[in-house]
Amino acid sequence: MLDYVVQLTIDATRISPDDHARLRSVGFDDQGILQITLIASWFNYINRVADALGVGRE
């Protein structure tokens, strides 16, 4: 799961059906894969917002 999350964060264009197959092999179904993808994607969004706006940096 976390390898997938790292790849999504670094370069999502490199993700392939093989990555999804690996997630399925450890028990995630399509809804789980979607949830992982959306949580990781959302946190990439919020990381960028926080850094760009200086949140928590005095």
Binding site: L2, V5, T9, D29, Q35, N47, D51, L53, V55, E58
Partner: protein, 93 residues
Amino acid sequence: MTWIRTVPLAEADEALRNAMAAQQALYPEEYATPVHPTDDGSAGIVASHSLIPGALHHAFAAFGELMSPALPLTRSQHEMITTVVSVTNRCRY
């Protein structure tokens, strides 16, 4: 604290108050205490969106939905994902 103006809770109009309340209602209890609070105690990252209440509501409601216990992932898995994303991005937040 952010590098753009944010709307303090005391000055929030109805749209902003509703957006913030709706977002808070969706989040797990452990999110009740902000990591980087503003002077009025609200979460800095939520307040950073306060100039566009609709974006605040929809952005944070999406994440709240994604943490639903009705979905496959556990809370621990949520936190592992968010931690790994932040570390990979070298996010300072």
